[in-house]
């Protein structure tokens, strides 16, 4: 019912691009992972408005994202809310040819909440488990990964262009599945939601890792331009069972590459 009501407001461009996704949908418009065409159309109508008219996103280097086949988009976080991830995913649908769905991995608690459970799954964000990630990649999908995790979105305004510690799980996943890594730097998130401090004890009450406080208290975003910079694919070979030192070295290479894209991107702003 809710979906039918919302479907009336779907952006025709979004509808057309969703219809061109190279996924196998059943007669109900749902694919084998539960991704649903009607839900995608509504969800990306909202994100497309933010992408085109609010953040005025510019995507650079889209040719580095493979048109087909498995790949991992690995990016940086900045800003108290992960608009960076949402804009990268929107770029994949609106500006990539042919359009693709970027699958992010979601927090388990989002899957336990009514409505959130439906939407998070129908737009392609499965619970963050290695098994789900491997299966999506083996199905030749595009995975969106932020190895900084919540540490990244908790960055303060002054640290917006820096990178915090990267987890290493994504690298073992890339090696195990033989997936190329596309480094992607997002600039603008930190300016849109400038965090001056984080509240941790209050956040615990609602089960969130932190609560970002902006100069206007609430983490509502400013209409700041976002720049997305996609780097050349990085290929690593291995099995995913390598020693930590080897993995950490590879992770360092990806982190350096993203730091380089951020630095180069700042010159252009």
């Amino acid at each position: 019912m809710l979906l039918n009501a919302l479907s009336r407001f779907v952006d025709p461009e979004v509808r057309e691009r969703v219809s061109r996704l190279e996924l196998s949908f059943n007669a109900h418009g749902v694919d084998r992972f539960g991704v649903s065409q009607p839900h995608l159309a509504v969800f990306y109508t909202v994100l497309a408005a933010l992408y085109r008219r609010y953040f005025h996103v510019r995507a650079h280097g889209l040719a580095n994202v493979p048109a087909r086949g498995r790949a991992m988009l690995v990016g940086n976080h900045s800003g108290g809310i992960a608009f960076d991830g949402a804009m990268v995913a929107t770029a994949m649908l609106l500006d990539l040819e042919p359009p693709r769905i970027a699958h992010a991995m979601s927090e388990k608690f989002l899957n336990t909440l009514p409505l959130s459970s439906i939407w998070i799954n129908r737009v392609g964000h499965l619970t963050g488990l290695p098994e789900n990630a491997v299966r999506l990649l083996e199905d030749e999908r595009l995975l969106l990964v932020y190895p900084e995790g919540a540490r990244g979105t908790a960055k303060l305004y002054k640290d917006r262009h820096s990178l915090v510690r990267f987890g290493s799980g994504f690298m073992r996943l890339a090696l195990k599945t033989g997936s190329p890594i596309i480094p992607v730097a997002t600039l603008g998130g930190g300016e849109a939601v400038p965090t001056v401090t984080n509240l941790y004890s209050v956040a615990k009450l609602v089960g969130a890792p932190y609560l970002p406080i902006t100069p206007w208290l609430l983490p509502l975003p400013l209409p700041v331009r976002f720049d997305l910079h996609f780097g050349e694919p990085m290929h690593f070979t291995g099995t995913g069972t390598e020693e930590d030192e080897v993995i950490d070295r590879y992770v360092g290479q990806v982190k350096d590459k993203i730091a380089g894209l951020i630095a180069a991107g700042r010159e252009l702003r």
């Binding site: 196998s24 109900h28 789900n132």
Partner: protein, 305 residues
């Protein structure tokens, strides 16, 4: 081949029996439920698999293969007696199989073995352990039966045991877990949740079971047909009306207002998906489904009165 089918009178048992008979096998069945329309010459013994009389059938018929279909999964309310039938019956089947030299046993279990939880992988493989059994006692008995059947692979290597974890089945009989759940015009769901449901037509399920007999597979296999569909989509296609109920009220509302009664543990199965990876089975048997999601639902609707 001489094939004995405990649980022959169920919708699936009847189909498997007819297919095996048509393929030239000698088929005998055991079931406490009647099969009034059983074709002539097809012997059905109305005995409880756990009772002595069932052993007599093994001794007289000397089956070479047993297709054990006398298991149930409970997305509906059941008695204590039904709670025990899976493990008790399965143990009896394997005991008699060992005693009377059966060469091949196909245990037909359910994919609900894996449990439904917010943090479980979307697609389950055969290597995974069962989850969330503690919250669904009705399922614990099925899990125990499945694991017991699987242990026969090393306890009795002389028997080719196949443990099948079959997705829900739908067909004109309206039998089975999903069929029972969808049987009434109004179908209760948990408000704000719409899990993927994995199911196949009864015909496809019967063909898969027959394939496992004829290919004489050994091991534990997930069995599925087309990719899963959303519960709301299934309800709509089945011509039913979805009645979303807020979770705190769910248990109170069930069994009233013309809604089906469900056990407490089933709530998670209406919130989270149980979906399986059936590639190993397809590889071992060459099985390919014939009925897609809509065709399976159409066959189900053909049974509406």
């Amino acid at each position: 081949m001489r094939v004995l089918i405990p649980g022959i009178a169920g919708a699936l048992g009847q189909r498997v029996a007819l297919r095996l008979r048509d393929a030239g096998h000698a088929v005998v069945g055991i079931d406490v439920r009647p099969w009034p329309s059983a074709p002539q010459g097809l012997e059905v013994h109305a005995v409880d698999i756990r009772k002595r009389a069932a052993e007599d059938v093994f001794r007289r018929f000397r089956p070479e293969c047993v297709v054990h279909l006398a298991t149930v999964t409970h997305l509906r309310s059941v008695s204590d007696e039904q709670l025990r039938v899976n493990l008790g019956g399965t143990r009896a089947v394997f005991d008699h199989a060992v005693t009377y030299g059966v060469k091949q046993v196909v245990f037909v279990g359910r994919h609900t073995f894996y449990g439904a939880a917010a943090d479980s992988p979307l697609y389950h493989t055969e290597e995974e352990p069962p989850l969330e059994v503690a919250r669904f006692p009705e399922l614990a008995d099925l899990v125990a039966a499945d694991l017991f059947a699987g242990s026969t692979l090393w306890r009795h290597p002389e028997i080719d045991t196949a443990v099948l974890r079959l997705v829900y089945t739908l067909g004109p009989s309206h039998h089975g877990t999903l069929g029972g759940y969808l049987s009434r015009p109004r179908v209760p769901t948990v408000l704000g949740f719409d899990p993927l449901f994995h199911f196949m037509s009864e015909d496809d399920a019967a063909r898969a079971i027959v394939a496992s007999v004829e290919r004489r597979i050994r091991g534990v296999f997930n069995v599925a047909g087309p990719p899963p569909a959303t519960l709301s989509g299934i309800i709509r296609s089945a011509g039913r009306r979805e009645v979303p109920i807020p979770e705190p009220l769910f248990r109170w509302v069930l069994g009233r207002f013309g809604l089906v009664r469900l056990p407490n543990g089933a709530v998670d199965h209406l919130k989270f998906p149980v979906v399986v990876d059936a590639r190993a089975f397809q590889k071992a048997t060459g099985f390919a489904f014939e009925h897609d999601v809509d065709e399976a639902i159409r066959l189900f609707r053909a049974g509406d009165v």
